[in-house]
Amino acid sequence: MSVSREAQPIVAQPERRHITDLQRVARRLHRNDRVATVLLWGIGGFVALLFIGIIIKLLVDGMPALVKPSFFLGTDDADIAKQIFNTFYLLILTEAFLFPIALAAAIYLVEYAPQGKLVATIHFAAETLAGVPSLVLGMFGFLVFGIYMQLGISRLSGALTLLCLNFPLALRLFEEALSSVPRELREAGLAMGASKWYVIRTVVLPSAVSGIITGLILTAGKIIGESAALLFTMGTFSPANVFTLNPLIGSDTLTTRLYYVKGPGAGQTGLEPMQETALAAGIAAVLIVVLFVINIGARALGRALQKKWTAA
């Protein structure tokens, strides 16, 4: 309490004090508000800078490799032509299983299944499977596809394991795509006397194509970036004749190569430590660029296709 306030006439004092109390509360609240605003901007800015910094660091470190064509085309240990081939081979093989199966499952859940216990069970199964660590799924693939189905450590085992790993994500994305098609379109088709499958084929799928393509590309991103599930199912080595379509040979991908070079294989790759780091940095930069393209491209392509198909 200041001296001047005590000298005020006694009648006005309670009211005045009331006002100054209110003012003090208001001032405190606004100060807190400002502090919180600064704090939240700080946190948001920190996270954004962290993300941008990581990407810049990866690109800068990988730049010497990225601008060198022989890095992509060479078959030396320090180049990645083999791993690029394997990665895309695995991607196509996996999608060949994943895309039809997940799309069919999504069609069943959205178009056919009666809402109830069955749908809830399948959704629960999907969520649980999505939560299984990819390393554990890799061990499962090693046991079931590698040993019980006698596929060994092979590209096929890897693709089947990735099918299990990406099934929940693909299912969710395709379900979203199909659910976004308005009911009226289906009803119009059915009212014309078409069978359900006919309506799905000619009305629902073309209308959902943008979402389906987006889903396809997003799962492709996950397949390209996956590594832990492949350690025991596809191995970390490439055989000499890697450029074949034989699905029964083991091979490494971009990610498993990066892990091997800087992890268990460091010092055993026949490369200088400097070369190992440069190779790893190059692979990391390639992966980041591919993911960038995929994430930005997925939506753009989806939108373009949407226009083309629905207008036709």
Partner: protein, 313 residues
Amino acid sequence: MQPSRRMRLTDQIAKVIFFLCALLLVGVIVSVIYFIASKAFLIFGSGVNPLTFLFGTTWDPTGIGHMDADGNPVPYFGAGGLILGSVVTTLLSVLLVIPFAVGTAIFFTELAPKWVITLLQPLLEIFTGIPSVVIGFLGLIVLVPWLQQLSSPLTGGLATGGYGWGAAILVLFVMVLPTVISVSIDALRAVPQSVREASLALGSTRWQMIFKAVVPAASTGIATAVVLGLARAIGETLAVAMVLQGHRLPENLFSLKIFFQPNVNITAFIAQDFGETAGTAQNAYWTLAFILLFISFLFICISRYLASRSVYK
């Protein structure tokens, strides 16, 4: 009538095929649980005490590191150190993630101008799917040398200082953060605008509106995000394996040094050694896999429970 009957037949066939594909998903998860569980308990059948397994700290299932007098390997199955490593790194990294993730999510939904959102959204999506080896590699070339320098007074200039739990926690921070942020953003966006308007109309400042109205309304959604972050962190493998580089739990467990020397956790050990083992030694790794599977299943159940309790979806 012929075409219509054929149509009905293809309709039925299509329906059955779709149904089988949907059922396959249930089949996959059931067989994952079945096959891993069927291998998980073999180790206890070969005379290993479950309590020793859970709390012992010497892990050497092949026994190569512990020869007896005649030169025969003596296997040890104490996974306590590995489990401790997974628990410590998971919990501390997610604790570290919570303020940043919730803060960023609030910033994103309540404060950020449009251009910031258009910048952050694709970044967030890319980082949600970033390959863990990439982050592990970055941890190896940036984080580990930095932590080694930082901790050298503590570790006495240890050459392998910098590897270990500290680096693993920071790597997990980067891996888990985007997931928790995007699920929290969904939770905050699900809170209806009327909640915010009601709070502001009562004379709240924006700060009061956020923390007295919006965050409580979204609290179960944010909790779901945190649990999903835990599930992600416990299963994260290669990023962590690359910066742990340990073969046993260090001895000085109760000093700060523990965070800055090569250390262990469950996933890193499986990634390093599972492929090279067979027989009883491999069975021990199946038990570890089952522990991981069980913990993740628990987290998924908790997150489902929380999600089912949230008011706004």
